[in-house]
């Protein structure tokens, strides 16, 4: 008898567990199948929330997702801006900063939350995430907000930084943490090797590199140049070479790529030759994080790296170093990188208004200037460089303005629909080239084929 009772209990327990699992699975299916229903529900919720917030004088609360991609105390810097903003808008707006990992993690978190009807109010995502975010219909165009401001507001931004944030005539984001790639060089080593100035063209690059390579007993002890290459970011590192050779890797609509264009192939071949033909650069993949360490240790005389490394290099270099624009073969010199500010769609109007206030604050000259000095990112507006702080900083440390000056000769970062798959297709083939498993032409044809498959339907 007793045992029977117990087994009955166990049965009920197991049944409950199963029921729980089944309902759990069911609810997720429901959510995707009856999207319209949940959407109208959310709309109701929105209006409810909105009316509630209007009637009571509660401050608007904003959830702000941000990634960190320059290491260390930078996260604290972002939080200090938020604090400053909250103080200025006490009683009206409260921004809650939510650190969300890397750029990729931030996008995953935003996607998960938005699908569950928990969308953040605003966030920092890659400028190139624009296709992902608009294809999913997550983000709100900012044109109406810009129209409310003086015309000088939008004109103050550097035009190159605004590139690529428009689709179908609508602008979806404003720049916040943006970088370009620049050439860092060890002034002392250049002088010692008889190289008078930093190379400005491809020919000068090869010539200077050959003078700078140092060999001892048949082993290279110092390279002329190091360029990060390989892995999922390979597309970003190879793109400047394509731009320098005068080719855009994607059209502005993000529907076509030019991976097997003769000029792209030529550019990739030039990169390959730097290591294999001219021998000024080590062969094989080069780690992004290791190269500044090599540069600081004097293991390479020049390196191509993000302006995001500038503050780090400046603090650690025990030698005199210079920064210059990337050498070119006639085209633009570099691509851009980094993150923009986006406002989400699925939130009450007053949250959108408040989010706009916060964006204006983050792109204001004082914050843009401070952020640029703290991180090495480009100050996003012209007036940022007019602030006394940044002016003095640039005067004392002219390298800090190279990235900005290079904006005149910069192209937009490779971005297409289905961006993850397309850049992956390209990066994988770059890997195949640098590891020597495919010829440049074969690899680029394969990249083109795979990218076109990923772009079908757009």
């Amino acid at each position: 008898m007793k045992t029977n009772n117990k087994s009955l209990f166990a049965l009920v327990f197991v049944l409950l567990l199963t029921l729980f699992t089944i309902t759990a699975c069911g609810s997720s299916e429901d959510a995707s199948s009856s999207e319209d229903e949940t959407k109208s529900e959310e709309a109701n919720k929105e209006t409810e929330e909105a009316s509630e917030e209007v009637s009571s004088d509660k401050p608007v609360e904003l959830e702000f997702y941000y990634p960190v991609s320059v290491g260390g105390a930078i996260a604290e810097k972002v939080e200090s801006y938020v604090e400053q903003f909250n103080q200025q808008n006490e009683g009206k707006i409260v921004v809650n900063p939510v650190f969300a990992g890397s750029y990729a993690d931030t996008l995953t978190k935003a996607k998960t939350a938005t699908e569950a009807g928990n969308s953040p109010d605003l966030g920092i995502f890659l400028q190139t995430d624009i296709f992902d975010l608009t294809d999913l219909d997550y983000v709100e165009p900012v044109d109406e907000f810009i129209a409310q401001e003086d015309e000088s507001f939008i004109d103050d931004f550097y035009p190159a930084l605004l590139d690529g944030s428009e689709i179908g005539g609508k602008r979806y984001s404003l720049p916040f943490q943006r970088s370009t790639q620049v050439l860092y060089y060890n002034k002392e080593v250049l002088k010692e090797a008889g190289v008078e100035k930093a190379p400005e063209t491809w020919d000068e690059l090869v010539e200077a590199g050959q003078k700078l390579v140092k060999e001892e007993n048949g082993e290279v002890t110092r390279w002329g140049l190091q360029v990060p290459m390989g892995g999922p970011m390979g597309y970003w590192n190879i793109q400047p070479f394509a731009l320098q050779n005068g080719v855009e890797l994607a059209n502005p609509e993000g529907t076509e790529v030019a991976f097997n264009d003769a000029k792209t192939i030529e550019a990739v071949q030039f990169f390959y030759d730097l290591a294999h033909e001219h021998k000024i650069m080590p062969e094989g993949p080069q780690g992004w994080g290791d190269i500044p360490t090599n540069f600081l240790a004097g293991n390479t005389a020049m390196m191509v790296h993000s302006t995001g490394s500038l503050t780090n290099v400046k603090e650690k270099a025990e030698f005199d170093f210079g920064v210059s624009m990337l050498p070119t073969n006639g085209g633009d010199r570099t691509n851009l990188g980094g993150g923009n500010l986006y406002i989400f769609k699925d939130i009450p109007q007053e949250n959108k208004d408040a989010a706009w206030e916060f964006i204006k604050f983050l792109t204001s000259p004082e914050i843009a200037a401070d952020w640029s000095m703290a991180s090495g990112y480009i100050g996003v507006t012209k007036s940022a460089y007019e602030t006394p702080e940044l002016k003095a900083y640039v005067e004392e440390f002219p390298e800090a303005a190279v990235a900005r000056d290079q904006l005149e000769e910069a192209g937009a970062e490779l971005a297409t629909h289905n961006n993850g798959k397309v850049t992956r297709a390209f990066s994988d083939e770059i890997d195949a080239v640098i590891t020597g498993s495919k010829s440049v032409e074969d690899a680029m044809n394969d990249a083109q084929e795979n990218a076109e498959r990923a772009l079908k339907g757009f």
Binding site: S7, A10, S309
Partner: protein
């Protein structure tokens, strides 16, 4: 003849073990060595250090609120372990020894869960947690792991090996099911339970993506999220000194636990593996 052959095998396998353990220990030694040296010595050789400093640890500690991350991590890991072990023991016992309608079908359903990768479940789990209104709580981090198909399966296999005669004679003596479970099954499954505690514990100690997505505020986030503040430095070069110091903060408790419980840890795997 035989003995010399044995000896050769013995020497050879020992050499292999030493070599392997050396390969395994190198990353840890590098990390420790880098964490204790001045930031500018990072690129020098393993033992080529100009001095020992604790500066990196101070920097790392100041750059993220490790104190609150530690508390959150401990609450989350202990919470998951407590609930998961209880649910797994009960379910495993039911599957191993009780007879009820649809037992085999249910068991297969549980086993099927083993084949679903955890990352796929992030979105549906998030929706459930969101419906419960639990976003940004520690409970949200723990809830999906309160039951585990893997633990149930492992424990069921162990319980199955307990001779059924023990069960029957205990019943003859009039022991209740609860008594049988606590006096016979749990003690006999101790090695498996230890193994489970350690693997489940270290898995959740290291879990990153789920806590990152489901929580927003500092006090609900574990150490791994804190670590990513330094390691996510895709645009600047990595500051290895601080990264390694922060990493040591994260792994230190696990490392200490491993050293203390080394014998149980290895025994439990030997035990679970050999059967």
């Amino acid at each position: 003849m035989n003995t010399t052959k044995d000896k050769i095998i013995h020497v050879f396998s020992t050499a292999c073990i030493i070599l392997l353990s050396f390969v395994w220990i190198i990353p840890l030694m590098w990390s420790i060595s880098i964490a204790f040296r001045p930031a500018n010595d990072v690129y020098k050789g393993l033992f080529d250090i100009s001095g020992i400093t604790f500066e990196n640890f101070v920097n790392a500690w100041n750059e993220a609120p490790f104190g609150s991350y530690y508390i959150a991590t401990i609450i989350i890991v202990v919470g998951i372990l407590c609930v998961q072990l209880v649910t797994s023991v009960l379910a495993a016992y039911a599957f191993a020894r009780l007879e009820f309608l649809g037992k085999n079908v249910l068991f297969v359903l549980f086993i099927v869960q083993l084949m679903i990768p955890a990352d796929v479940l992030i979105a549906p789990n998030y929706e459930i947690i969101s419906d419960f209104g639990l976003i940004d709580t520690k409970i949200a981090v723990m809830l999906p792991y309160f039951a585990s198909a893997f633990s149930i399966f492992l424990l069921r296999q162990t319980f199955k090996q307990v001779p059924i005669e023990f069960d029957e004679s205990a019943k003859m003596e009039g022991a209740s099911m609860w008594n049988i479970l606590t006096k016979i099954y749990i003690p006999m499954a101790k090695p498996t339970l230890t193994a489970l505690t350690l693997t489940v514990g270290s898995f959740h100690w290291n879990n990153y993506l789920w806590p990152l997505i489901v929580t927003n505020s500092e006090e609900n986030r574990p150490l791994t999220v804190g670590l990513s503040v330094f390691s996510a430095s895709s645009e600047s070069g990595a500051n290895w000194a601080t990264v390694t110091a922060g990493m040591l903060f994260v792994i230190l408790p696990l490392l200490i636990a491993f050293i203390i419980f080394q014998r149980q840890f290895i025994n439990s795997f030997m035990h679970a593996g050999l059967k």
